[in-house]
Subunit: 379 residues, 2 copies
């Protein structure tokens, strides 16, 4: 093939690499389905545990199945002491780095580490869903010099996370917000971290390795880091009435406004609706509506951009939820990961089930044959 005939699809935009039955996104109409269920139905009715079951088993659980699944999660919330030691040893690191390292360490000693059967992989996946919140909460406590708060079996996944993080009984609105946030972040087709997980899985790397690859990709500001960047913007703006002017200045300087636009959505991200509502409720409840108002005013100032298909995405209001829950900014990415781990597991299992090594090509544009020169003759 001559160089002229090569088509380079930079970023692989618009290229399909496989079929899936996990998630459907209609970016034109703003529709998001998990296993065929509309995200709005799930946001209004489901718990995160139920959504996990749905994503892993492709159907909603009966009461008995959900109880069993929930019991399995609760049983697996504790971390091996060697992994707790890793968290202590690297406590001053960025929480995403610590999560990645702890999960990698877990993969080294997982009881099913050599078993690639579906049953073993589901066990590993359930363990990871249960362990992620403990890693993040333990790290947050330890780096603050506080005692680790052990998990409680009488609390839901979301409530237990807040309990471990804060060491105090979480209020029901905070629990609902956390649960809904996990649901909305549980899955989003082949975003960069999930795609990374599938690329690793396509070499038949084990589940923990593939999840570690996903966490590695989540670290990047173009993927998992946007919620934090939105809150930095809110801080820079400071007051609701300054939002419009600030946005105009940024647009005039051709700078990007964080939390807007999406590779797939060309209308409003359907998840934004629920996060906007939550942000409003929490802002009023905690007597600090300013953050929400600044976000609202930014959104309003950005309305003209809708003509170009640029709307708020999932990250825009997510940061404010975490802010209202008193969660520090460098935990936003790990919290994204706590929600998304189930989606990664579902995709890794789907990749294993009908695998083909994912290996696209790079088009060489360098010199063709450079002549070797001995070191004495180089200048």
């Amino acid at each position: 093939m001559s160089a002229e005939q090569v088509i380079v699809n930079k970023g692989l935009e618009g290229i399909y690499f496989d079929n899936t039955s996990i998630c459907h996104i209609d970016g034109q109409r703003g529709i998001l389905l998990y296993r065929g269920y509309n995200i709005h139905d799930l946001a209004s009715n489901a718990t995160y545990e139920e959504v996990c079951y749905l994503l892993l088993y492709d159907r909603l659980p009966t009461k008995d199945e959900l109880d069993q699944f929930d019991a399995a999660l609760k049983e697996n919330r504790n971390l091996p002491s060697a992994v707790m030691d890793v968290i202590y040893a690297f406590k001053d690191g960025h929480p995403t780095d610590v999560l990645r390292t702890a999960v990698s360490a877990l993969g080294t000693i997982d009881p099913d580490v050599k078993d690639m059967s579906l049953e073993a992989n589901l066990r590993k996946g359930i363990r990871l869903i249960a362990q992620f919140p403990t890693i993040v909460a333990a790290h947050e406590r330890i780096r603050k010099g506080l005692d680790f708060t052990p998990p409680r079996e009488d609390l839901s996944h979301a409530a237990n996370f807040l309990w471990m993080l804060k060491g105090e009984e979480p209020d029901p609105d905070a629990v609902r917000a956390m649960d809904l946030d996990f649901i909305l972040h549980a899955e989003h087709s082949s975003n960069a971290s999930t795609f990374t997980a599938r690329v690793a899985a396509s070499t038949l790397a084990d589940l923990h390795s593939s999840v570690v690859a996903a966490i590695s990709a989540l670290k990047g500001p173009l993927h998992g880091g946007a919620a934090e960047a939105v809150m930095e913007m809110v801080e820079a703006i400071g007051e609701p009435e300054r939002a419009e002017g600030w946005v105009q200045e940024q647009l005039a300087a051709k700078k990007r406004i964080m939390g807007f636009g999406h590779r797939v959505y060309k209308t409003e991200d359907p998840r934004a609706r629920h996060l906007r509502e939550l942000s409003k409720i929490l802002g009023e409840k905690y007597g600090e509506p300013k953050t929400f108002q600044i976000l609202q005013n930014i959104e309003k100032a950005m309305e003209p951009m809708r003509a170009k298909g640029i709307y708020v995405n999932v990250d825009f209001y997510a940061g404010s939820i975490y802010h209202y829950l008193g969660i520090p900014a460098d935990l936003y990415i790990p919290i994204f990961a706590i929600g998304r781990i189930v989606g990664w597991v579902a995709h890794i299992l789907e990749q294993y089930s009908d695998n083909r090594l994912i290996r696209p090509l790079l088009h060489y544009v360098g010199p063709m044959e450079r002549q070797w020169v001995f070191i004495e003759q180089r200048s």
Copy 2:
């Protein structure tokens, strides 16, 4: 777009995702260039340190530059004590898992962790090139209950690795074999681990995160695990005269022969020539030519497959080199990583230099809108 119009490129085979000036592979003619230099010239003339410089800086170093680069590698061979502790704590794990965890831990405490400048990334890359052999050798010693052998500044990269691994002065043929093996594994365009590194880097995840993602992908038997599988085959065959019959049986049962065929090469992998020669030399030197003879006989029995473009690949003779060097089979993947780390770093830097988020699509083939059913009504 209707479902009929979607083209799914499973495995992204034949799809170009970017331009590169690092590596050229002509799979039809069996040509491999690093930065424009033919692999045969590099194999005959260069050291691994020189190849590292070439891959990172896009030109061969002068004597002074090479000395400086070599000094930087030597300075960075020691590991922080917290990372040594991780190796001790997880010593019973698979060496690839331990390498992945140690590198992830290094990323958590790297002095340049927040600096994304090219200079900082080159420093991080050089540190990782220097640290990889120490991690692998330290783990091997520690899990055997032996004392860690500290690195020596008077030895080359390859010689020092063998020194740390064995705790004895390595012989020159072993050093040459190790050095050449590292050169031949240093780079190979967008193989699965390098592609994984670039996908992670495309989110602007930091260098350590991107390298961790690469190691995660290398774990899979479809990528880094083939050399080990070849040596298992050699063991199963046992005697040179049994090779032909064994191959016929496998082919009749439509089973794959490990170490043959490649997604890109449709003729002999140019790296195989050098590894074949090394295998022969080491087999004779160490008075154990049987392994080499079995491999030769397998290759001969596979000759009819050449009509289908199936030839030996890099993994076929690599395992026998490690075997002759007395290296256990579960270190083959980490040793691949010791060679390849420089290629990963070069690709991560290239990705950063002209980045676009790598985010292909999945084609949804599941049900369109399933109706929510309350849990009491599910059966």
